[in-house]
């Protein structure tokens, strides 16, 4: 009995010691990471042009992040896929090169095998989703149909997108299928501003932007919000009903595609190969920023509403699940080809 007690005591001491060692290591790792960043310069690659929403959000967050990390931040704008390619291939593996881009473009271009894509999404380290917004189905004010039922009866509707197979166009393709509309997608608009103007003029009948854009477009009389994608109402447009609230059933065939177009926001990423402790440290830093009232105020001014950053681990899991679904790319491609004016 005594021997047993002795064994138990030894085991207990060992457990406590190993716990202390592990905890100490973790604490040391966190401290080491904090120390590593102090006084250094972080390159933040914005995978879109200066002045874009992505760029403006990065520039809004940058001074707060710099203070929290004790670093200097240098923002560098690069063309969309080229930006993530650069981060993936040439970004330093020490945590000092960050990237920012909307997650549905990162994963969408990867699974669609868009020309020039040189990265594998699941190998990127996602730090946070800094703009987890909702997509809104916007219709032209020139359109005679004002309800979803009337829209379903209409013939030859025109949806607008920017680049072929880009996230705006793919979202339209999926929603045309989900809502059972008689519509085609016209791609080639230079950006969301040009698309907004086309919607306002009645050159296209609907577009599906994120809620901040939708809110401004509606306020300025350029478009009318019809429904919110996903299961949760938008924080920016709380009066707009969601797809399930309107009694729309999403069929099993398009369920994964629908889930894909309703997920994601604007993600901060690190290249592969960055030490785990630094990835975790950066994730924690972004979560700490959630409590910064000044940042909340600045983000609310920039985007219309403050939405807390989503933890990087959640985004990582979501991206991995999308990438693992081998049938999704084929489905999205088939839907785009079905409704696009270009085949």
């Amino acid at each position: 009995m005594d021997r047993m007690i002795k064994h138990m005591a030894v085991i207990g001491v060992l457990v406590v010691l190993s716990g202390l060692i592990m905890g100490g290591r973790a604490a040391l790792g966190a401290d080491a990471s904090e120390e590593f960043f102090r006084g250094k310069t972080v390159d933040w690659i914005v995978a879109l042009e200066a002045g874009s929403t992505t760029d403006l959000i990065a520039r809004t967050i940058a001074p707060f992040l710099a203070k929290e990390l004790n670093v200097k931040i240098k923002i560098e704008n690069r063309k969309t896929d080229e930006g993530i390619n650069y981060l993936y291939n040439q970004g330093t593996k020490d945590g000092l090169t960050l990237g920012i881009k909307d997650s549905d473009s990162i994963i969408g271009n990867d699974i669609a095998k868009a020309p020039g894509v040189q990265y594998e999404t699941e190998k990127l380290n996602f730090i946070a989703d800094v703009y987890p917004s909702t997509k809104i189905f916007l219709i032209s004010p020139k359109l005679p149909y004002k309800t979803l039922d009337a829209l379903k009866k209409a013939k030859g509707l025109r949806a607008g997108g920017t680049s072929a197979k880009g996230s705006l166009a793919v979202t339209c393709a999926v929603m045309i299928e989900v809502l059972g509309l008689d519509a085609k997608i016209i791609t080639g608009f230079k950006g969301s501003k040009e698309l907004t103007l086309a919607t306002a003029r009645g050159e296209v009948d609907f577009m599906i932007p994120r809620d901040t854009t939708a809110m401004r477009n509606e306020k300025d009389g350029y478009a009318v919000s019809l429904l919110a994608l996903g299961n949760k109402r938008s924080a920016v447009l709380p009066n707009v009903p969601t797809v399930p609230e309107l009694g729309i059933k999403v069929s099993k065939e398009v369920a994964t595609a629908y889930k894909f177009v309703t997920s994601g926001g604007l993600t901060v990423v690190l290249p592969p190969g960055v030490p785990e402790a630094r990835v975790e440290h950066l994730r924690k830093v972004f979560q700490r920023l959630n409590n910064n009232l000044e940042l909340q105020k600045a983000m609310a001014k920039m985007t219309g509403v403050w939405l807390p950053f989503v933890p990087g681990q959640d985004v990582q899991q979501e991206m991995a699940a999308i990438k693992a679904d081998k049938a999704l790319a084929t489905k999205l491609d088939a839907l785009f080809k079905k409704y696009s004016v270009v085949r």
């Binding site: 760029d55 520039r59 809004t60 560098e76 791609t187 080639g188 270009v342």
Partner: protein, 513 residues
């Protein structure tokens, strides 16, 4: 109306506050400094300063950004005229006649005309803003993809006339430019063209490395090969003579007041419409100036009208773009998009509601644009006229060529932070040199290059959104009439002159006994 007038006056009076005026001045100084470095430009400075805007005085912060944007173009034009070193599309067109004027020993005249046209264009922009506010929205809404397509077509129709001697050579150069504009991913279809699997070509060729190569690179190669200076020693007059030239250039703008006014209105209308960048507007303006000139053969050889037209257009356009950004919330370019971000950070939501909530701010910024131009012109006059910057043009090639080429390659690199951009500049330097020696118009190539992609894109969108009869829209028909008028103007004018001459002869013959 009374409220608008009050906001208009108050907008100006806001600069009586020394703090705000100081930030406007700071913006002007940063703009001049940053503008002279190719490709660095106002956009870089505005992006860097954007985070500082948060928490600053609204008018001071926004005026500083507006001033940087307004003046960086002037700084860019100075190097373009003096050294043949353009840092952007609009500066490339000022070079076409500005640089030959420098080589002829008239840099002051070119600079004077450029700055006067710039400033007066901006001032007209202020006046027009007051008139245009009520109609800006309907005007923008009436310009769809079809109208944009015909505006681009108008620009492309000037391809043949841009060549000094041979229209065929002009067309050849122009179509080469159009083909080059097709490099990269086609936006509507997602198909890559002429990219040869190269990552940096997928996004298309950037305008800055191309023009730096075609103009600055080619000139430097030529100087290196033929051991030339920009201006043979002694031809460039400094001091008093330079200042006299400057005022002569200013006077030229008043002597060409109708060209100035026409170019300003053209720029203003094009500036109001999102989707048309400065690059497009200035080339259309240059084309119309050449097409309606009494001596079109002088364009490209140092013709003052070739400076007045694009410069007036460019600055009148800036006032209009600012108005569209503020009143419609629709930025027409990268600089305006950054300004839009700054407005949002200041808690100002641009859009139609600004006319009721922040009309005073709207006029303040438009006045800021004009004041920045006036201050910028005075400062530039001082810098050029009293610091004798023109001595740079007499430097021997062994000093000038490596220095300028270093700046050119640095400018290319900074456009996209890619080494490949330097390669593009070197290739286009060789192409530019060959074109120059062979008498092929580099301007026509740039025009084709800038407009080619717009032409394809707007044609596709007009066809898809409006169907094959898209050209029957009233505004489209109006532009078609303008294009036709531009081309029949000269034959009709010469026909009328011939007829008048004949009847005068007949009268003389009739009077003879």
């Amino acid at each position: 109306m009374l409220e608008s007038l009050e906001a208009f006056v108050q907008g100006f009076l806001n600069y009586a506050d020394l703090f705000r005026f100081g930030f406007l001045m700071l913006g002007v100084l940063v703009g001049i400094f940053i503008g002279v470095v190719p490709a660095l430009g106002g956009i870089v400075a505005m992006s860097l300063l954007l985070p500082l805007v948060f928490g600053m005085d609204k008018i001071a912060a926004l005026s500083m950004l507006v001033a940087i944007h307004a003046i960086s173009g002037t700084g860019d034009n100075i190097t373009s005229i003096l050294m043949g070193l353009p840092g952007s599309g609009p500066a490339a067109i000022t070079l076409l006649d500005g640089f030959p004027m420098t080589r002829k020993g008239e840099p002051g005249k070119a600079l004077g005309a450029m700055m006067c046209a710039d400033t007066m264009g901006a001032l007209l922009g202020v006046g027009l803003a007051f008139v245009m506010i009520p109609i800006v929205r309907p005007l923008v809404m009436s310009f769809g993809n079809s109208e944009l397509f015909f505006l681009i077509l108008m620009g492309l129709s000037f391809l043949a006339i841009l060549s000094k001697e041979s229209p065929v050579k002009g067309l050849m150069a122009g179509f080469t430019g159009i083909i080059l504009s097709l490099v990269g991913l086609q936006h509507s279809t997602g198909v890559d063209r002429f990219a040869f699997g190269k990552d940096f070509l997928l996004g298309g060729l950037d305008i800055v490395p191309v023009i730096l190569g075609l103009f600055a690179g080619a000139e430097m190669f030529q100087m290196a090969v033929f051991k030339e200076t920009i201006v043979p020693g002694g031809v460039v007059k400094a001091g008093k003579e330079l200042r006299r030239q400057f005022f002569a250039g200013v006077k030229e703008v008043f002597q060409h007041k109708w060209l100035w006014f026409r170019s300003c209105v053209l720029g203003y209308v094009m500036g109001l419409i999102p989707g048309i960048g400065s690059e497009v507007a200035v080339w259309v303006s240059y084309g119309q100036a050449k097409q309606t000139s009494k001596h079109p053969e002088l364009f490209g050889t140092g013709c003052i009208e070739g400076i007045i037209a694009p410069e007036s257009t460019n600055n009148a356009k800036e006032g209009a773009s600012l108005l569209t950004t503020l009143c419609l919330g629709l930025p027409s370019g990268v600089a305006m998009a950054i300004l839009l971000g700054a407005l949002l950070l200041q808690g100002v939501i641009p859009g139609p509601s600004i006319l009721t909530t922040d009309l005073e701010l709207t006029f303040t910024l438009i006045w800021g644009l004009a004041l920045a131009n006036i201050i910028g012109a005075v400062l530039c006059f001082y810098i050029i006229g009293y610091l004798n910057l023109t001595w740079l043009t007499t430097l021997p090639p062994r000093v000038l060529v490596p220095t300028i080429l270093s700046v050119v390659y640095l400018g290319s690199y900074t456009t996209d932070n890619q080494i490949a951009a330097i390669g593009v500049t070197i290739v286009f330097s060789i192409i530019g040199l060959v074109m120059k020696r062979g008498g092929y118009s580099r301007a026509a190539m740039v025009l084709g290059f800038i407009l080619g992609r717009f032409f394809e894109g707007y044609f596709f969108l007009a066809l898809q959104t409006m169907g094959p009869l898209f050209f029957l829209r009233p505004a489209s028909l109006g532009i078609i009439v303008i294009i036709i008028s531009l081309y029949i103007y000269r034959p009709i004018q010469s026909f009328m002159q011939r007829r008048r001459g004949r009847s005068a002869l007949e009268e003389i013959a009739g009077e003879e006994p």
